[in-house]
Symmetry: C5
């Protein structure tokens, strides 16, 4: 990692990344709870909230809509991704955008890369990550690793030891930030932080939960020394995404307790 | 996608692409109903009809015949394709032409790419599409994705949810237009449009049907917010292709009802 | 295809290609009927006959002997090929020479490429052909496709519909000439010609037959609108290759009937 | 190999490489005996000991911490590596860093590469090693091969004949130094040295053992004509790593017997 | 092939190549009969014998020792090779050195490449050979093919027809010299020569045999029109390699009978 505390995607050392690549990864089914969320413009509007330090989208969505929002939204281009129509023999995520295209043509402030350590394709994905990471250095943009162990040998991808290992892989391979599943407790996230060196760690938002449960999780990450959240459905599947963003802002950037914002 | 409403392949926001890559994809059997359709010159002549905003052909056909027609026909070079002699373990479409060759040597106004999401080769095809899409941007030509989910996990490729997902993949990966199978109704196409953002959607013509049925389908696409049609057999397998093109012109570009043109 | 009627490998619109890659494809066994045919110099001497518009050989044979014959023989470098020692899981032909090397170092007037449509490797071979075809255009030399459907789905590679399809693939992918197996009759070759557009078609000579039978076949190709012959064993396995070349010259280039030359 | 006795990673012809890639190769579990060893800064501090001629780490750790230590520590960037979450069909180690990045961006004094001879991927790893070795020559940095035979055909990777062969492979392919498992005796290491020509050989530290046993092994390597040690756990899993480094310094660089330093 | 009779690796049209890549291909076991043969310097000294027209070694051995011997020994760098620890699904030999590195950095006078025609990897090896052969032409160094048919379809790799075919493949693909197994008689080698055109053929030395038997074989190759020998164990596994080299010199370069030199 390189120090990127002066990057626009970081605020007071922490980040809140609004992730919106579900149209590719999960398909339109994720837009059903709030149909207008199928419209990227709706989510770009949400991303204008000052709590959001970056909006993470795939190339095509960035290319189509970012020109309208580039003054108000920070862009994280997710470089790889696949559809849920696919059923490969093991987990793999093909590259859909080069770093060069993300930065020069799309105006990316950061790039993201999914890493399925443990998959039969770990070797290929390490090698692809190398290319991405070195190219990102040439362009001076931080690299966020979606650190998701998967595949035959991974029995439980929410086990603390697995998540700690995934985060450490991010540090070893040169990521600037990892996005990990929530392992269940503040203590568990402390274990993650303990092996992650100076690299930033953010929690993956996951499927939609109640405000209380969600804010408790985010707060435990912050208080364990983590750096925030990358969240999709827990924001855009709400009728009033601004409300939850207001609360997240307090917890992530203003050192507030969940009960202070609820 | 990038805005390409000023492209010659668009007229009043819509398109009618005459597709003629059947000699490769299906073989000479598709020419049997109208034997002269085996002669590319015959189809280039048809493509001079003002309803046709582009003729889609493979490299070799473009190279041989387009010099005679470049003033009267807009060219869409289909970049990948395979023969029906092939029986691979899963769906894949190899690249037969680079964007550079299509634009610089053949004079292409647009390029086309078949995407078999759901196939075991989805990963490879995503990566190839990335190269094609980024190269097309450098040359300033729009990219049309033949969005055809196929493979083991795809039980029914005319299901609305599958077609919607396929179209969304086009948006996410940076296509400018998708060509999708007709999912059966105007309502279904509205679902497709709802998840496709600003990207254009056109219906695939499919096998030959009656004028009435065909125009109804095309009209339902237009009235659902779609952008037209990419059609092969339903034009070149007719003895009088001009007649159906006259009718399609009314429906696609002149806001006419099927019964106004029949 | 591009027009190459002014190429040295064409005479009055037709071609007679003497093929001599059997040492690679079949092995020395093909030289047994006429042992001196193992010596490339013997076959280059034969190729000086004015009926021969090009001699097709692999890189190494061209490199060793063509400097002695470049004033008297036109060179077609066969770019791919494999040995008969090989027993791969399906048909494939690796590239043994680049177009650049063939033209710049060997002095090739044309290049040749074997295409096994229908094989599991059809996809790879299409992609390789693309590179070859585009490179050939940069060097301005015509591309001859050995259009040989093979593999599991091909039950009968002499069926007219299979050969027609193979030839059409040549046109679609940008070959300038295809070499196809003889499908058995003039009518059958007419079917091939009907779907091949302006592209030239030549018959593959096949294993050695009688003068009568052979000349009848060649004549039927010419009278069906085909463009000649690519022949190896039916010439170099004869004690007097000049005699058969004299006769072929009459049939292919001088509009003679077989009985006029026999 | 090229002579690199004037390299900073060599002292009096020998080397002591502190290896710290366990966070990637084994995971955080290796940090449990001494939890502060999870913090790379702790290990960089240890590496300031003058007995350590180089610290071997992966790209990300080098990038994050080496700027603070570049005046006091010599850097060996390990170019490939994989996680223990992975369970591939046979041993392989993907490249996570180019030589160019290691030298130009990270300031590497040397590079390291794991070679699993005997694995189904031996062929791929030989080819990757070629690229690494030739690139290292362009940058003038020595290449250390982690010479670890593995895979189906390797029944016992501590057998002298296997280790000798592994070391010889290093010499044949152009490594400057090999790191091999300890084969059990001074005599065995002499066999290794006998087939390794002028190339340097160092012993792999392995899992933690007692001071006595460990120093005896290291001394037997030195007295057999070997060139030292690459060690991780036997240093950083001790509460007082400086103490063992003092002793190793005596044995490796000052010609002392184990009982002189214990 | 290109004429390379003025190359230093040829003397009076013939060659005696001392091969010393056994440390990689067979492992240290080949050095056991004469332990000092494990030391490359010992073999370089042997190679100073004027009968030896080139010493064939892998990259690492050339890099380490050739600078001391470049005035007295001609260097053939073997570009591919694998270890005997490996047990791949079929025969393949990965490239361990580029032609560029061999010539520019190591000072090679010639390069060598193992070709396993008949293996499942024949296709890949043909393609790799193409790259090597064309690069060798740019550098003006001859290419020697180790022509060793292997794999499932090869029942007997010493059969004359197999060896003839292997040699012919060398000619077809552009090798300048082939090294083949000895097929058992002068007559058999004449068959090889008959299908090899102007390309040079040398016999592979094989495992150690008596002086008499060995010289008879070499003489039969020479008298059959072959061009000499590439030999390893039959030289370096002898206590007095100079003695056998004296005899080989007579047979290969001075037209002597075996009984004249014994």
């Amino acid at each position: 990692m390189r120090d990127f505390d002066d990057s626009p995607i970081v605020r007071n050392g922490n980040s809140l990344i609004l992730a919106y690549d579900h149209g590719l990864e999960h398909g339109p089914v994720d837009f059903e709870p709030v149909p207008e969320s199928a419209n990227p413009r709706h989510v770009f509007e949400v991303a204008k909230h000052e709590a959001v330090t970056a909006l993470a989208v795939q190339k095509g969505v960035a290319e189509t809509y970012y020109p309208e929002y580039e003054d108000e939204v920070n862009l994280l281009v997710k470089l790889n991704g696949t559809s849920d129509l696919w059923d490969p023999d093991d987990y793999y995520s093909p590259k859909n955008c080069t770093v060069q295209y993300a930065v020069e043509e799309l105006g990316a402030d950061a790039v993201g890369f999914t890493m399925y350590a443990g998959s039969d394709y770990e070797g290929s994905m390490f090698e692809e990550f190398r290319r991405v990471q070195e190219e990102a250095r040439r362009y001076g943009v931080p690299v966020v690793m979606w650190a998701y162990p998967r595949g035959r040998p991974i029995k439980n991808d929410k086990k603390t030891s697995i998540i700690s290992y995934a985060s450490r892989i991010g540090l070893e391979l040169g990521a600037d930030m990892v996005k990990c599943k929530y392992p269940g407790s503040k203590t568990a996230w402390e274990e993650v932080v303990a092996v992650s060196g100076d690299m930033k760690t953010v929690m993956s938002g996951g499927s939609k939960t109640s405000d209380e449960a969600f804010l408790e999780q985010v707060h435990s990450v912050i208080s364990a020394g983590g750096n925030g959240l990358a969240v999709g459905r827990n924001v855009f599947q709400r009728e009033n995404p601004e409300a939850i963003l207001d609360k997240l802002e307090g917890v992530i950037f203003e050192e507030k307790q969940p009960d202070q914002v609820l």
